[in-house]
């Protein structure tokens, strides 16, 4: 990790890796979509709408993963003062927020035909919603503070406190849900997964993961360039 502290070397690495990352992403999506839309069978209860799971669950996985990524990057930024760590955290946030939004929206689209309402306060959706708020708060902090160094430190604190809070939220929302739920469990996961459903899900999961990694690298590169741009503009202002 130390060898990538040099932004220029990191950028060169990204340039090298990027086309391959895109290739892997596209291939995985091609296979995943084929499996999800063509090969996977109908569910005996949900019919065709079970296919929504293949875009909902991976989005939720990545939404969570992106936040963990942000938190780890923030921790590295605070503890090791790695120069690229806070940029990595900042870059991950909008991407994670998009995936969280997708998880919520597709969850809503999955729920409507099943339960008749556009929104249910089901445990997982509720946790997702709070996660979305965590992302928004983190992004807002970066926009609220002018000095990038200061913004990075405050944002890192916000990300880490949020990360500690995340399992607590999950636990409390699950508790709240079981407290108010009658015997019939309304789980958006549906019945247990059999292999015909599991394989498309895993492939789509891998596709989403590949997409996230690719996007994250692109975003980090943009952040590095933005920081360099700012430094150069400041240097130019110094000269005047």
């Amino acid at each position: 990790m130390q060898q990538f502290a040099n932004p220029r070397r990191f950028l060169r690495l990204v340039d090298l890796v990027e086309p391959w990352a895109w290739a892997v992403t596209v291939i995985l999506f091609a296979i995943g979509l084929y499996l999800s839309l063509v090969v996977a069978p109908q569910d005996y209860q949900q019919g065709e709408t079970v296919r929504i799971m293949f875009v909902h669950v991976p989005a939720a996985w990545i939404a969570l993963l992106a936040y963990l990524d942000m938190a780890i990057a923030s921790a590295v930024a605070i503890i090791f003062r790695h120069p690229l760590a806070d940029l990595a955290a900042k870059a991950a946030a909008p991407i994670g927020a998009c995936f969280t939004f997708l998880a919520l929206a597709t969850g809503s689209l999955w729920g409507k035909p099943m339960w008749g309402t556009w929104w249910v306060w089901d445990a997982r959706l509720t946790s997702m919603f709070v996660l979305f708020l965590l992302y928004l708060g983190y992004i807002a902090i970066w926009h609220a503070i002018d000095d990038p160094g200061r913004a990075a430190r405050i944002a890192a604190i916000v990300a880490l406190v949020g990360c500690i809070n995340l399992p607590i939220i999950k636990f409390s929302v699950d508790w709240w849900n079981t407290l108010h739920q009658p015997a019939s469990v309304l789980r958006i996961g549906g019945p247990t997964l059999h292999p015909a459903i599991l394989t498309p899900l895993l492939v789509m999961g891998a596709a989403y993961l590949a997409l996230f990694v690719t996007l994250h690298l692109t975003a980090i590169r943009a952040e590095i360039m933005a920081r360099r741009l700012r430094q150069m503009e400041l240097a130019r202002a110094d000269e005047v």
């Binding site: 998009c98 929206a105 741009l229 000269e239």
Partner: protein
């Protein structure tokens, strides 16, 4: 896929929305990268120094 199934619209909506949002994300990030890279190239072409004369506070 059974094209006559009920609620098929929801499936298309879900996949369509996912495609839209993810594509939008990709395009936004690429656009941002390109804009920044162009701005950097312009500044470098005009011979701007890469670092401040006095080091920035960490």
């Amino acid at each position: 896929m059974d094209l006559a199934a009920p609620h098929l619209g929801f499936v298309f909506a879900a996949y369509g929305l996912s495609l839209l949002v993810l594509l939008g994300l990709v395009l936004w990030l690429r656009h941002r990268s390109r804009t920044l890279s162009r701005a950097l190239q312009q500044l470098e072409a005009h011979g701007a120094p890469r670092r401040r004369a006095v080091a920035e506070a960490p």
